[in-house]
């Protein structure tokens, strides 16, 4: 796995694009309706999709942070509300479960000559999605503040806490650490990171039986608790975008958020002093483990099953045009890590490559993972507020998961 990612990130050997197959851009008929998450990198990508689709196409895109909640309902209808959906290794599973995205092999054969092999998401021998970027959460820090206090860049969460306490004690900042702890998906994700960092497994191998109430789970929760103690007391209401605002207001010296945040944190808007002082660092490990406490993600697109072949082809062409656009990737090298052929990674790619090299786990794409993530989203709050023990919180998570998984037919 390591070799593969390194190869893909630093493959400057470019196979000649568009040679052979049909050019994907310049769609003239069919309607292209895309559902996507909301963040800057996706906006850059969508601009490219739009320009690839051209003037003649009926093009619309819906950006929503609630895309995961909308996707099943929107794509189940026939004809579906959207012809394409931007997916990740987290959200594709749900669509696969319900057969809501179609195999793309014929379209790839027709238009996909510029694709790299690792862009093709193959499940059981068929291509179901085309990936265009890789993402991971990692550490960000303010260099001047760490330098002033003589703190080395933390490489473990224990050091992150020590550093935060030192900054707090110096009086420079009241709440020097920030993470997306908003109750809901974000909080669940923080636990997923920390639990994997401790070397935990979510399920008994090969089954849907959950197992998080163990020493790893307790250690992960206790670490999250200690992090929230050096965070803004409103941490349960802060999602990634709110954390970025805190950063840009200069209230935070250390944070653990997405690599793709660079697109908005390192742009020309906002306080340029803070921007110049912002540094990216690898994701810390935790509890003496070797793996960084983070998950690897790919972002790509899938095409709806319940849409006409004509719309599917139009949507595929426009999205593929952007997913193979070397110009877009190299014009925005720091927006994310593009998986596109001929892309030269910018300065911000380091932490994600580092995470992959140190064996970070990709976010589990198991059919029942979203149910566990949902249970984590709601059942951990009381522990973080100090009203419940870690064991009790994890027992609640398991019980909530079992009830949901039973209803869904997994248990």
């Amino acid at each position: 796995m390591k070799k593969l990612l390194i190869a893909l990130l630093f493959s400057f050997v470019s196979t000649s694009a568009f040679a052979g197959g049909h050019s994907p851009c310049g769609v003239t008929d069919g309607s292209i309706k895309i559902l996507a998450n909301e963040f800057t990198t996706y906006r850059i990508f969508m601009d490219e999709v739009k320009s690839c689709a051209g003037e003649g196409a009926d093009f619309s895109v819906t950006h929503s942070v609630d895309h995961n909640k909308l996707q099943v309902a929107a794509l189940s209808a026939n004809p579906a509300e959207f012809s394409a959906k931007l997916v990740t290794n987290g959200s594709i599973t749900t669509l696969m479960n319900d057969n809501l995205i179609r195999p793309l092999d014929d379209l790839v054969a027709k238009y996909g000559s510029a694709l790299q092999d690792n862009q093709k998401i193959m499940i059981d021998g068929k291509i179901y999605a085309i990936a265009f970027m890789a993402n991971a959460q990692h550490l960000w820090y303010r260099e001047s503040i760490l330098n002033d206090l003589g703190i080395a860049v933390p490489s473990t969460y224990e050091e992150v806490i020590a550093a935060s306490e030192k900054i707090k004690a110096s009086g420079k900042m009241a709440n020097p650490y920030a993470g997306a702890f908003k109750s809901g998906w974000n909080l669940g994700q923080e636990f997923v990171n920390m639990y994997l960092g401790h070397g935990g497994d979510f399920f008994k191998a090969g089954t849907a039986e959950v197992s998080v109430n163990n020493a790893n789970g307790v250690a992960a929760l206790n670490m999250l608790k200690r992090l929230t103690e050096v965070s803004n007391p409103d941490f349960l209401t802060q999602d990634t975008n709110a954390v970025k605002e805190e950063w840009e207001s200069g209230n935070v010296a250390l944070m653990h958020i997405w690599n793709s945040g660079a697109a908005s944190l390192l742009d020309d808007e906002g306080d340029q002093m803070i921007k110049a002082d912002t540094r990216l660092a690898p994701s810390p490990s935790v509890g003496g483990g070797m793996k960084p406490a983070t998950t690897l993600w790919w972002d790509g697109f899938g095409i709806a099953t319940n849409t006409s072949d004509e719309n599917a082809e139009a949507s595929f062409r426009a999205l593929l045009g952007a997913a193979t656009s070397t110009e877009m990737a190299n014009a925005n090298p720091n927006a994310t890590i593009w998986l596109i052929d001929g892309y030269s990674p910018g300065d911000t790619a380091g932490p994600v490559v580092d995470a992959a090299n140190r064996g970070a786990t990709p976010y589990p794409s198991l059919p029942y993972m979203s149910l566990l993530h949902g249970a984590l989203s709601t059942e951990l709050v009381e522990f973080l507020q100090g009203n419940e023990s870690a064991e009790k919180a994890l027992a609640d998570v398991e019980a909530a998961y079992v009830a949901k998984a039973t209803e869904q037919g997994f248990l």
Binding site: M1, P233, L236, T237, D396, A400
Partner: protein
């Protein structure tokens, strides 16, 4: 009105109610009795940018076949109602036998999602409704006495909280009570505590939600009371003035008795509305500490990628039963009044 005329008068709205309220309720009820068919899992090879590995996936063909055989899903009877995420009978039984004190039992009970949500919903209902009725009445009395030229703008100002969409209203307030927002920093200044945050503790969040609820609902009570005030007969009031009754005595002995049935109506509607509280919880990002029954339904349908129809249907049914129980005393009271009047 003759029965026949009444029937034809009522028929269109009755039909609409049946189609858009009655049938969906029946359908939710049927859905709540079923759970998804068994998911057949299979091992397949998955390749992505991080490498290839064998992973579990749902066998779509086999599962679809099961789905076709049982389009509604597997019949589960009242199983969903009794599971941990709803009435949690087993958990309660266990807690009852294992806990040594009532306090411990209550703790376990209120840790179960349904009862946690029920506690907040009821607290919200009963904390919001009385102040809404009282405040609405006071505001209506005050507006009723101001000069005509100022009445229009004042009424508009008073009903503004009701005009503002709940989600927008709560979002605006949410930003204002932020530690750096205008209200948030004022409260910090007031209590001289730079770390005070309304969003960080569950008690303060509950209080914030309740105050928002009162702010949002008072205009409704005001509008109804204000309209009713216009019907207060002037003769007894004038007679009372001649008898030397003070303003307080006039309100206490003439206006309030006249407005009693209206107050019952307002309480009825307010209880019903507040029992279904949802938007402020989303707007204030309070899901972590304050969950209502409506929020549970929302969460079942929106949070998991997969929609838990059975679970949402069961919670809907329980909410309807809850509203019915809540309204019974008020309805019985209205019925008695109606009978004595006849």
């Amino acid at each position: 009105m003759p029965h026949r005329t009444f029937f034809w008068f009522f028929f269109p709205s009755g039909l609409a109610m049946l189609m858009f309220i009655g049938l969906p309720i029946i359908s939710s009820f049927f859905q709540s009795l079923h759970i998804e068919p068994e998911q057949i899992l299979m091992e397949v090879e998955k390749c992505d940018p991080f490498g290839c590995k064998t992973e579990t996936k749902v066998d779509i063909e086999a599962t679809n076949k099961l789905q076709e055989e049982q389009p509604l899903g597997r019949f589960n009877g009242l199983g969903t109602y009794g599971d941990r995420n709803h009435l949690a009978f087993d958990e309660i039984k266990e807690a009852w036998t294992n806990s040594s004190s009532i306090a411990e039992f209550t703790d376990i009970l209120l840790n179960l999602p349904f009862y946690k949500a029920l506690l907040f919903t009821l607290t919200f209902c009963f904390a919001v409704t009385p102040p809404v009725v009282i405040l609405g009445f006071i505001v209506a009395l005050s507006v009723n006495t101001i000069t005509k030229s100022l009445k229009g703008p004042t009424i508009f100002g008073v009903i503004l909280p009701m005009i503002v969409t709940p989600l927008i209203g709560s979002l605006v307030l949410f930003w204002m009570i932020d530690a750096k927002g205008i209200l948030g920093s004022f409260i910090q200044f007031l209590f001289d505590d730079p770390n005070l945050s309304l969003k960080s503790s569950s008690q303060l969040t509950w209080i914030t939600l309740i105050i928002y609820g009162i702010w949002h609902n008072t205009p409704f009570a005001f509008v109804v009371f204000y309209a009713a005030l216009q019907t207060v007969p002037q003769d007894p009031i004038e007679a009372a003035i001649i008898d030397g009754a003070s303003r307080y005595e006039r309100v206490r002995h003439i206006v309030i008795p006249h407005l009693y049935p209206v107050a019952t109506f307002i309480i009825l509607i307010c209880l019903m509305d507040n029992f279904r509280v949802l938007e402020p919880i989303i707007g204030f990002a309070a899901e972590g500490v304050a969950q209502s029954l409506s929020w549970m339904i929302y969460n079942d349908l929106r949070s998991e990628n997969k929609m838990l129809f059975g679970s949402a249907g069961a919670t809907s049914m329980l909410t309807i039963i809850g509203v019915a129980i809540l309204l019974t005393p008020v309805l019985i009271r209205t019925w008695r009044e109606f009978r004595t009047e006849r």
